[in-house]
Amino acid sequence: MTGAVASPAARRFLRNRMAPAGAVFLAAVGVLALAAPLVAGHDPNAVDLTAFREPPSAAHLLGTDSSGRDVFARLVHAGRVSLLVGLLSSLAAVALGTLLGALAGMFGGPLDAVVMRAADVVLSFPSLVVIVVLAGVLGPSAAMLVLVFAACNWPTACRVVRGLTLSLREREYVQAARAFGAGRLTVIGRHVLPAVLPQVAVVGTLLVAQMILLEAVLSFLGLGVRPPRASWGNMLTDAQNLTLIQTMPWLWLPPGLAIALTVLAVNFVGDGLRDAVDPKGARG
Amino acid sequence: MTPLLVVDDLAVEFPMEGGVLRAVDGVSLEVGQGEILGVVGESGSGKSVTAMSVLGLVRPPGRVVRGSVRFDGEDLLALPARRLRRIRGRRIAMIFQDPMTALNPVVPVGAQIAEAIRLHQPRLGRAAVRARVLELLASVGIADPADRYGRHPHEYSGGMRQRALIAMALANEPDLLIADEPTTALDVTLQSQVLGLLDTARRETGAAAVLITHDLGVIAELADRVAVMYAGRVVEHGEVHQIFTTPRHPYTRGLLSSRPGLASATGELVPIPGSPPDLLAPPPGCAFEPRCALGAGRAACRTKRPEPVAAAGGHLSACHFPGEPA
């Protein structure tokens, strides 16, 4: 995007107080996750049975869990998994949805009908149930989560992009391109995709938050990322015990806060992007 | 006789991302009783903003920063909102460019006109209001008003909607009509109908009107006097024949010569070169100087803003070298 066009949008993004704060927080979480092996200080999977459920100390910043593993080390390593699953599944869902939406909007007719009915079907499925079943069939893993999440969440982007494509298709500059012989795929590549990108980015960002949350839920239930690999969701498994919740907050508070704050931050960024992209609609 | 409406040294500003946009910059106008003042200008000339400020309808963050608007002796800009509302719609009525957005799509047209009447004449009985609406619809040439009364805007054609809006504007027999591009959205045959209607309304009710348009044809058709606006200022102000026959400002002359006339011979058109100035960074001297053949390079034009100067017959023009042939 051009500097001249982007700058008012950037200014609108910055004017929304929470969005830049969210972005800073996410950047910090991202850096921590990327640099996990460097900052962790401990092997996240190293079991130390002599020191389990120890409160925070100099040696273990956030204490140790039920197997004596360092909670801080697990937290930052889990961040890698959670963020990766969230980003990748959102990216896959949005990419698939954008492609299908653009094709449906541009070609119309039977293709449009098939794609949109498929989107309706996917949206009307209780996706959590589908995911639980698929997780059972395919076996729990991070890759499975990404695939299943993408398969269940493409319709949102698809609908947005189809709508935008329908209106772009009638735009005179697209008509002009058709008039000098540009095919529909060329038009999609040259005019539709760049034009829908901002809106798609908003949908994608908000989806990341949902995906992180969903990953946490499934991993917590044992259907997602399986131990010993850490994810924020499966770290919460310890919190199933009421005594532990009351007496040992370091076991569940860090992953719980990580999930809550990250999801919140992503949503703030998404809202800020929406303000930036569509200054009229957002506040209403 | 004192004029009905006197706008004096009006200035309206809009804070923008790149600075302050002065949309109207020292505009003075007068409209006499029963007179039609044509305000002509291109997009961005400030003609619509001027009209909006007369009604106190400048949308924030835009605001009037200077000047006064006296209507029948009262300063409208100083009036409390409630008093202004009572004048608006009753004594001053507005006709907008787009008849579709000016009507509420979910309320029957008759009921909307009835509401306009009841708002200002609350004591009128239901039957009397209805009769008045039917009379109004008939007077603007809507056939079968009894049937049309209960119909929604989407059941009206474009021309009928504009006629209904005129009926609504006339509902309370206003003293002043402000029509902002009333014919621009209409087809040629409807344009002439609507102009005819405005002319009739003026003759029958004696209402004065401010007719805002970019179309010199509309001005030629209807206006008694004309104000030509450019870049937020009135550059020429005079009686309609003066403006068309002996224009004094080079911009007015440019406008007249760039328009192919239906009746004129088809020679080459003489366009005004360039485009209007950026109002965020207006030229220091005359705003028209960069496009003006007369001005070209003269120091006065580049450095000093020309103030309106009167010639014979109250014909004002804001030019350092008025009437000088290009």
């Binding site: 001249a4 066009v5 008509q175 002009a176 000098f180 | 328009r259």
Partner: protein
């Protein structure tokens, strides 16, 4: 007269009306209903009519942005109407279109250079000398090639319209469809673009189809004029003929309604005010489409559709205005129908100042 570079015969576009859940077709909008036109090199045909008359759809059909329902588009000895998009592709560049809205017709995300280069790239002609060609094109339409790196929003409406024209010229067209190219522009800018179009035509020998509702621009620019009403051409002829001796009542009404250019002409001409509204193209009247608003309509007009007849100056009317007595005062000729609404309100008392 020279051979037409492009001719349209019986061109028709019907849009289906679908209703209900099953999207069953319940009617047809006859947007364009049997139009014949011929465009000649170096000449301009004006296509005039009010909104909804089908003039824009006709333009889109000629450049095949819409699929004709029937009819022929003859260009270079071939019929473009039945061609597939692939067959059409190499011919696309030769028949180009300029749109009305200089804001919507340029992509906000591309530089002016990219916009003008787009047709060249699409047709694979950018590689040899495309950059220079874009510069030439911008100069041709009166823009500085140095501005090629800017985005459309940095230009005024008139400059944008020039960019649109440069883009349409990129592939060396022979026919240019101009769809209200100056209607969205300010008066002082309109003249710049109109003059530019005149120059380009002289220089490049282009054939123009100039679609407009603005009679004064049409009169200034066009050699021939076709008047459209409800999807059909009702009158067609040389400009001077049409304006001096309009034969169809609708043409007459249209010309009488056009704005005057000087206040001294006030009251100086009869204004024919048409009764009622344009009928819906989904449910056109029987016989002559104009009869519901025509002050000359008789029984025959409801029964029989008038054909576009005549040589040179063609008119589709059973009771055309007599060219020798071009007096609208005589426009009540023939038996008047009983409805009063059919009678025009005639204002003023002199003749139409032509």
């Amino acid at each position: 007269m020279s051979e037409p570079v492009l001719a349209v015969e019986g061109l028709t576009k019907h849009f289906p009306i679908r209703t209900g859940v099953l999207r069953r077709q319940t009617g047809t909008v006859r947007a364009v209903d049997g139009v014949d036109l011929a465009l000649h090199p170096g000449r301009t045909l004006g296509l005039v009519g009010e909104s909804g008359c089908g003039k824009t759809t006709t333009g889109r059909l000629v450049v095949r942005l819409a699929e004709p329902t029937s009819g022929r588009i003859l260009y270079g000895g071939r019929d473009l109407a039945p061609m597939s998009h692939a067959e059409l592709r190499p011919l696309r560049g030769e028949i180009q279109i300029v749109f009305q809205d200089p804001y919507a017709s340029l992509s906000p995300r591309l530089t002016v250079h990219e916009i003008v280069a787009e047709p060249l790239r699409t047709q694979g002609r950018y590689r040899d000398g495309g950059r220079e060609r874009v510069g030439e094109l911008l100069e041709l339409v009166g823009l500085s090639p140095e501005h090629a790196g800017r985005y459309p929003h940095e230009f005024s409406g008139g400059q944008r319209q020039r960019v649109g024209i440069a883009r349409a010229l990129a592939l060396d067209p022979r026919v240019l469809v101009l769809d209200e190219p100056v209607s969205a522009l300010d008066v002082s800018i309109q003249a710049q673009v109109v003059n530019q179009l005149v120059h380009l035509q002289r220089e490049l020998g282009l054939a123009y189809l100039f679609i407009s509702h603005d009679l004064s621009v049409v009169r200034h620019l066009c050699d021939r004029v076709a008047i459209m009403y409800l999807g059909r051409i009702v009158e067609e002829g040389e400009r001077t003929e049409i304006f001096a001796r309009p034969a169809h009542p609708y043409t007459k009404a249209l010309i009488s309604a056009a704005p005057i250019s000087h206040p001294s002409q006030r009251g100086g001409r009869r204004r024919i005010v048409l009764a009622g509204d344009v009928p819906s193209p989904a449910d056109p009247p029987s016989g002559c489409g104009f009869r519901t608003r025509c002050w000359k309509a008789q029984e025959r007009c409801a029964l029989e559709e008038p054909a576009l007849t005549g040589a040179g100056h063609r008119v589709a009317c059973h009771f055309p205005e007599d060219s020798t007595t071009a007096d609208p005062g005589g426009c009540y000729g023939g038996k008047r129908l009983k409805s009063d609404a059919r009678r025009p309100d005639v204002a003023g008392d002199d003749d139409i100042s032509g």
